[in-house]
Symmetry: C2
Subunit: 136 residues, 2 copies
DNA sequence: ATTTGAGTTCGCCCATAGGCGAGCTTCTAG
DNA sequence: CTAGAAGCTCGCCTATGGGCGAACTCAAAT
Protein backbone atom coordinates (compact mmCIF):
# COMPACT_ATOMS: atom_id res chain seq x y z
CA UNK A 1 0.00 0.00 0.00
CA UNK A 2 1.62 3.23 -1.15
CA UNK A 3 0.64 6.68 -0.03
CA UNK A 4 -1.70 7.12 -2.98
CA UNK A 5 -3.40 3.80 -3.61
CA UNK A 6 -5.94 3.83 -0.83
CA UNK A 7 -8.98 5.97 -1.66
CA UNK A 8 -9.19 7.45 1.80
CA UNK A 9 -5.67 8.78 1.64
CA UNK A 10 -5.30 9.58 -2.02
CA UNK A 11 -5.33 13.34 -1.60
CA UNK A 12 -1.72 13.99 -2.40
CA UNK A 13 -2.34 13.50 -6.12
CA UNK A 14 -4.46 15.86 -8.16
CA UNK A 15 -7.21 13.32 -8.69
CA UNK A 16 -10.09 13.06 -6.25
CA UNK A 17 -13.21 10.93 -6.50
CA UNK A 18 -16.72 12.19 -5.78
CA UNK A 19 -16.65 10.60 -2.38
CA UNK A 20 -13.39 12.24 -1.41
CA UNK A 21 -14.56 15.62 -2.56
CA UNK A 22 -17.86 15.05 -0.77
CA UNK A 23 -16.24 14.21 2.54
CA UNK A 24 -13.79 17.08 2.31
CA UNK A 25 -16.53 19.56 1.50
CA UNK A 26 -18.94 18.20 4.06
CA UNK A 27 -21.66 17.28 1.57
CA UNK A 28 -22.92 14.03 0.07
CA UNK A 29 -21.64 12.44 -3.12
CA UNK A 30 -25.09 13.09 -4.55
CA UNK A 31 -24.63 16.77 -3.91
CA UNK A 32 -21.22 16.76 -5.56
CA UNK A 33 -22.67 15.25 -8.74
CA UNK A 34 -25.43 17.82 -8.54
CA UNK A 35 -22.88 20.62 -8.26
CA UNK A 36 -21.06 19.30 -11.29
CA UNK A 37 -24.27 19.26 -13.35
CA UNK A 38 -24.85 22.87 -12.32
CA UNK A 39 -21.36 23.91 -13.25
CA UNK A 40 -20.31 24.80 -9.73
CA UNK A 41 -17.40 22.43 -10.24
CA UNK A 42 -15.87 20.76 -13.26
CA UNK A 43 -13.83 17.62 -13.53
CA UNK A 44 -12.74 14.95 -15.93
CA UNK A 45 -13.39 11.26 -16.16
CA UNK A 46 -11.21 8.26 -15.42
CA UNK A 47 -10.86 5.46 -17.94
CA UNK A 48 -13.69 3.75 -16.10
CA UNK A 49 -15.95 6.81 -16.45
CA UNK A 50 -15.57 7.82 -12.83
CA UNK A 51 -15.48 11.53 -12.00
CA UNK A 52 -12.12 12.97 -11.07
CA UNK A 53 -11.65 16.33 -9.41
CA UNK A 54 -8.83 18.40 -8.06
CA UNK A 55 -8.73 19.92 -4.59
CA UNK A 56 -9.88 23.13 -6.24
CA UNK A 57 -13.34 21.59 -6.53
CA UNK A 58 -13.53 21.36 -2.76
CA UNK A 59 -12.81 25.07 -2.48
CA UNK A 60 -15.44 25.90 -5.08
CA UNK A 61 -18.04 23.88 -3.24
CA UNK A 62 -17.14 25.55 0.03
CA UNK A 63 -17.44 28.96 -1.55
CA UNK A 64 -20.81 28.03 -3.02
CA UNK A 65 -22.01 26.80 0.36
CA UNK A 66 -21.00 30.03 2.03
CA UNK A 67 -22.62 31.96 -0.80
CA UNK A 68 -25.84 30.00 -0.31
CA UNK A 69 -25.95 31.25 3.25
CA UNK A 70 -26.10 34.83 2.02
CA UNK A 71 -28.88 34.00 -0.41
CA UNK A 72 -26.92 33.16 -3.56
CA UNK A 73 -28.30 30.25 -5.57
CA UNK A 74 -26.10 27.48 -6.91
CA UNK A 75 -26.66 28.78 -10.41
CA UNK A 76 -25.35 32.20 -9.44
CA UNK A 77 -22.40 30.65 -7.65
CA UNK A 78 -21.67 28.65 -10.78
CA UNK A 79 -21.60 31.87 -12.80
CA UNK A 80 -19.27 33.57 -10.35
CA UNK A 81 -17.00 30.55 -10.14
CA UNK A 82 -16.93 30.08 -13.90
CA UNK A 83 -15.10 33.38 -14.12
CA UNK A 84 -12.25 32.53 -11.82
CA UNK A 85 -9.24 30.24 -12.20
CA UNK A 86 -8.20 27.63 -9.66
CA UNK A 87 -7.55 28.99 -6.21
CA UNK A 88 -3.88 28.03 -6.42
CA UNK A 89 -3.47 30.01 -9.64
CA UNK A 90 -5.01 33.29 -8.58
CA UNK A 91 -5.83 33.89 -4.96
CA UNK A 92 -6.67 37.51 -5.63
CA UNK A 93 -9.60 36.59 -7.81
CA UNK A 94 -10.96 34.45 -5.02
CA UNK A 95 -10.53 37.30 -2.59
CA UNK A 96 -12.38 39.48 -5.10
CA UNK A 97 -15.22 36.97 -5.34
CA UNK A 98 -15.32 36.84 -1.56
CA UNK A 99 -15.59 40.60 -1.43
CA UNK A 100 -18.47 40.55 -3.87
CA UNK A 101 -20.27 38.04 -1.70
CA UNK A 102 -19.54 40.18 1.33
CA UNK A 103 -21.26 43.11 -0.36
CA UNK A 104 -24.26 40.95 -1.17
CA UNK A 105 -24.32 39.68 2.38
CA UNK A 106 -24.22 43.19 3.79
CA UNK A 107 -27.09 44.19 1.54
CA UNK A 108 -29.10 41.21 2.75
CA UNK A 109 -28.36 42.24 6.32
CA UNK A 110 -29.63 45.75 5.62
CA UNK A 111 -32.84 44.34 4.13
CA UNK A 112 -33.29 42.09 7.11
CA UNK A 113 -32.78 44.97 9.50
CA UNK A 114 -35.46 46.93 7.70
CA UNK A 115 -37.85 44.01 7.94
CA UNK A 116 -37.05 43.58 11.62
CA UNK A 117 -37.89 47.24 12.18
CA UNK A 118 -41.22 46.75 10.46
CA UNK A 119 -41.90 43.72 12.60
CA UNK A 120 -41.03 45.63 15.74
CA UNK A 121 -43.58 48.34 14.99
CA UNK A 122 -46.10 46.22 13.09
CA UNK A 123 -46.21 49.15 10.69
CA UNK A 124 -46.85 46.95 7.70
CA UNK A 125 -50.29 46.16 9.10
CA UNK A 126 -51.37 49.67 8.20
CA UNK A 127 -53.41 49.65 4.97
CA UNK A 128 -51.48 50.76 1.94
CA UNK A 129 -53.52 53.64 0.46
CA UNK A 130 -52.14 52.91 -3.00
CA UNK A 131 -53.52 49.39 -2.91
CA UNK A 132 -56.75 49.89 -1.04
CA UNK A 133 -58.05 52.62 -3.28
CA UNK A 134 -59.44 51.33 -6.56
CA UNK A 135 -57.30 52.47 -9.50
CA UNK A 136 -58.48 55.78 -10.96
CA UNK B 1 -75.27 52.02 -6.11
CA UNK B 2 -74.86 52.09 -2.38
CA UNK B 3 -71.61 52.24 -0.50
CA UNK B 4 -71.41 48.49 -0.24
CA UNK B 5 -72.73 47.02 -3.47
CA UNK B 6 -69.73 47.65 -5.69
CA UNK B 7 -67.02 45.02 -5.16
CA UNK B 8 -64.22 47.53 -5.32
CA UNK B 9 -65.67 49.54 -2.47
CA UNK B 10 -67.27 46.87 -0.36
CA UNK B 11 -64.76 47.03 2.45
CA UNK B 12 -66.97 48.57 5.08
CA UNK B 13 -68.68 45.24 5.73
CA UNK B 14 -66.91 42.30 7.28
CA UNK B 15 -67.02 40.24 4.11
CA UNK B 16 -64.20 40.42 1.59
CA UNK B 17 -63.69 38.36 -1.55
CA UNK B 18 -60.41 36.76 -2.53
CA UNK B 19 -59.75 39.54 -4.99
CA UNK B 20 -60.30 42.25 -2.42
CA UNK B 21 -58.05 40.57 0.09
CA UNK B 22 -55.47 39.98 -2.64
CA UNK B 23 -55.39 43.62 -3.70
CA UNK B 24 -55.24 44.86 -0.13
CA UNK B 25 -52.42 42.50 0.77
CA UNK B 26 -50.53 43.08 -2.45
CA UNK B 27 -50.63 39.47 -3.60
CA UNK B 28 -52.57 37.57 -6.24
CA UNK B 29 -55.91 35.86 -5.72
CA UNK B 30 -54.09 32.62 -6.39
CA UNK B 31 -51.79 33.31 -3.50
CA UNK B 32 -54.72 34.11 -1.21
CA UNK B 33 -56.32 30.73 -1.97
CA UNK B 34 -52.93 29.14 -1.36
CA UNK B 35 -52.65 30.87 2.01
CA UNK B 36 -56.08 29.62 2.96
CA UNK B 37 -55.14 26.04 2.09
CA UNK B 38 -52.05 26.41 4.27
CA UNK B 39 -54.03 27.79 7.16
CA UNK B 40 -52.38 31.21 7.12
CA UNK B 41 -55.89 32.63 6.87
CA UNK B 42 -59.34 31.22 7.39
CA UNK B 43 -62.66 32.30 6.00
CA UNK B 44 -66.14 31.12 5.30
CA UNK B 45 -68.10 30.57 2.13
CA UNK B 46 -70.94 32.53 0.59
CA UNK B 47 -74.11 30.78 -0.52
CA UNK B 48 -72.52 30.50 -3.94
CA UNK B 49 -69.39 28.84 -2.53
CA UNK B 50 -67.25 31.94 -2.86
CA UNK B 51 -64.60 32.59 -0.20
CA UNK B 52 -65.35 35.35 2.28
CA UNK B 53 -62.78 36.90 4.55
CA UNK B 54 -62.61 39.66 7.11
CA UNK B 55 -60.03 42.42 7.10
CA UNK B 56 -58.17 40.38 9.66
CA UNK B 57 -57.11 38.04 6.84
CA UNK B 58 -55.28 40.94 5.20
CA UNK B 59 -53.32 41.53 8.39
CA UNK B 60 -52.44 37.86 8.71
CA UNK B 61 -51.17 37.76 5.15
CA UNK B 62 -49.11 40.87 5.72
CA UNK B 63 -47.59 39.37 8.85
CA UNK B 64 -46.80 36.16 6.98
CA UNK B 65 -45.16 38.14 4.18
CA UNK B 66 -42.98 40.03 6.62
CA UNK B 67 -42.17 36.77 8.39
CA UNK B 68 -41.15 35.23 5.06
CA UNK B 69 -38.57 37.96 4.70
CA UNK B 70 -36.88 36.83 7.89
CA UNK B 71 -36.87 33.23 6.74
CA UNK B 72 -40.12 31.95 8.22
CA UNK B 73 -42.03 29.56 5.99
CA UNK B 74 -45.77 29.88 5.37
CA UNK B 75 -46.32 26.74 7.37
CA UNK B 76 -44.56 28.25 10.37
CA UNK B 77 -46.48 31.50 9.95
CA UNK B 78 -49.67 29.48 9.87
CA UNK B 79 -48.74 27.88 13.18
CA UNK B 80 -47.94 31.20 14.77
CA UNK B 81 -51.10 32.82 13.45
CA UNK B 82 -53.26 29.88 14.46
CA UNK B 83 -52.50 30.77 18.05
CA UNK B 84 -53.65 34.34 17.96
CA UNK B 85 -57.11 35.92 17.76
CA UNK B 86 -58.13 38.60 15.31
CA UNK B 87 -56.00 41.71 15.45
CA UNK B 88 -58.95 43.80 16.57
CA UNK B 89 -59.56 41.46 19.51
CA UNK B 90 -56.08 41.31 20.95
CA UNK B 91 -53.45 43.68 19.69
CA UNK B 92 -51.03 42.58 22.38
CA UNK B 93 -50.86 39.07 21.01
CA UNK B 94 -49.94 40.49 17.63
CA UNK B 95 -47.28 42.63 19.21
CA UNK B 96 -46.02 39.49 20.92
CA UNK B 97 -45.92 37.61 17.63
CA UNK B 98 -44.09 40.54 16.10
CA UNK B 99 -41.56 40.42 18.90
CA UNK B 100 -41.00 36.73 18.32
CA UNK B 101 -40.35 37.38 14.66
CA UNK B 102 -38.01 40.20 15.60
CA UNK B 103 -36.00 37.75 17.69
CA UNK B 104 -35.85 35.31 14.80
CA UNK B 105 -34.84 38.11 12.47
CA UNK B 106 -32.06 39.24 14.78
CA UNK B 107 -30.79 35.67 14.98
CA UNK B 108 -30.78 35.47 11.18
CA UNK B 109 -28.84 38.72 11.06
CA UNK B 110 -26.26 37.33 13.46
CA UNK B 111 -25.86 34.22 11.32
CA UNK B 112 -25.48 36.33 8.23
CA UNK B 113 -22.87 38.48 9.90
CA UNK B 114 -20.90 35.37 10.80
CA UNK B 115 -21.08 34.16 7.21
CA UNK B 116 -20.03 37.56 5.94
CA UNK B 117 -17.00 37.43 8.22
CA UNK B 118 -16.08 34.04 6.83
CA UNK B 119 -16.44 35.36 3.31
CA UNK B 120 -14.28 38.35 4.11
CA UNK B 121 -11.42 36.15 5.29
CA UNK B 122 -12.08 33.12 3.07
CA UNK B 123 -11.42 31.13 6.19
CA UNK B 124 -13.84 28.40 5.23
CA UNK B 125 -11.51 27.40 2.42
CA UNK B 126 -9.15 25.99 4.99
CA UNK B 127 -9.48 22.20 5.13
CA UNK B 128 -11.50 20.94 8.05
CA UNK B 129 -9.20 18.48 9.83
CA UNK B 130 -12.20 16.60 11.22
CA UNK B 131 -13.45 15.87 7.72
CA UNK B 132 -10.21 15.38 5.84
CA UNK B 133 -8.82 12.81 8.20
CA UNK B 134 -10.34 9.37 7.73
CA UNK B 135 -12.45 8.34 10.73
CA UNK B 136 -10.47 6.36 13.30
C1' DA C 1 -13.28 -16.35 -9.03
C1' DT C 2 -15.77 -13.72 -6.09
C1' DT C 3 -16.97 -10.46 -3.04
C1' DT C 4 -16.89 -5.89 -1.52
C1' DG C 5 -16.88 -0.86 -1.98
C1' DA C 6 -17.29 2.84 -4.67
C1' DG C 7 -18.45 4.57 -8.71
C1' DT C 8 -22.19 5.34 -12.86
C1' DT C 9 -26.91 6.81 -14.95
C1' DC C 10 -31.82 7.34 -14.69
C1' DG C 11 -35.61 8.80 -12.83
C1' DC C 12 -38.97 9.58 -9.32
C1' DC C 13 -39.61 11.86 -4.65
C1' DC C 14 -39.77 15.79 -1.06
C1' DA C 15 -40.77 20.69 0.47
C1' DT C 16 -41.44 25.68 -0.55
C1' DA C 17 -44.21 29.11 -2.88
C1' DG C 18 -46.90 29.85 -5.85
C1' DG C 19 -48.40 30.57 -11.59
C1' DC C 20 -51.44 29.31 -15.05
C1' DG C 21 -55.02 27.43 -17.86
C1' DA C 22 -59.28 24.57 -18.46
C1' DG C 23 -63.83 24.17 -17.72
C1' DC C 24 -67.63 25.48 -14.94
C1' DT C 25 -70.72 28.48 -11.85
C1' DT C 26 -72.38 32.69 -10.03
C1' DC C 27 -73.27 37.48 -9.83
C1' DT C 28 -74.29 41.95 -11.40
C1' DA C 29 -75.18 45.41 -14.86
C1' DG C 30 -77.37 46.95 -18.73
C1' DC D 1 -81.86 37.95 -21.14
C1' DT D 2 -77.37 38.05 -21.97
C1' DA D 3 -72.64 39.43 -21.49
C1' DG D 4 -68.75 40.13 -18.74
C1' DA D 5 -66.27 40.03 -14.49
C1' DA D 6 -65.02 37.40 -10.88
C1' DG D 7 -65.27 33.24 -8.40
C1' DC D 8 -64.61 27.91 -8.09
C1' DT D 9 -61.84 23.35 -8.48
C1' DC D 10 -58.34 20.54 -10.46
C1' DG D 11 -54.24 19.58 -11.94
C1' DC D 12 -50.00 20.36 -14.29
C1' DC D 13 -45.72 23.46 -14.45
C1' DT D 14 -41.83 26.32 -12.58
C1' DA D 15 -37.39 26.83 -9.90
C1' DT D 16 -34.33 25.51 -6.01
C1' DG D 17 -31.63 21.92 -3.74
C1' DG D 18 -31.00 18.00 -3.33
C1' DG D 19 -32.41 12.48 -1.39
C1' DC D 20 -33.02 7.93 -2.63
C1' DG D 21 -33.39 3.52 -4.91
C1' DA D 22 -32.68 0.58 -9.03
C1' DA D 23 -29.74 -1.48 -11.94
C1' DC D 24 -25.27 -1.69 -13.57
C1' DT D 25 -19.97 -1.30 -13.98
C1' DC D 26 -15.39 -1.27 -12.25
C1' DA D 27 -11.34 -2.14 -9.60
C1' DA D 28 -8.96 -3.96 -5.88
C1' DA D 29 -8.41 -7.52 -2.19
C1' DT D 30 -8.93 -12.22 -0.76
Amino acid sequence: MTSTDHPAFETGGTSLTVGQVARAAGVTANAVRFYERYGVITGHRSSGNARRFTVDAICRIKLALAAQRVGITLKESAEILAGIPPLSRDLDRWVGAGDELVRIGRARIAQLQATVSELATLDFLQPDPARDRPPG
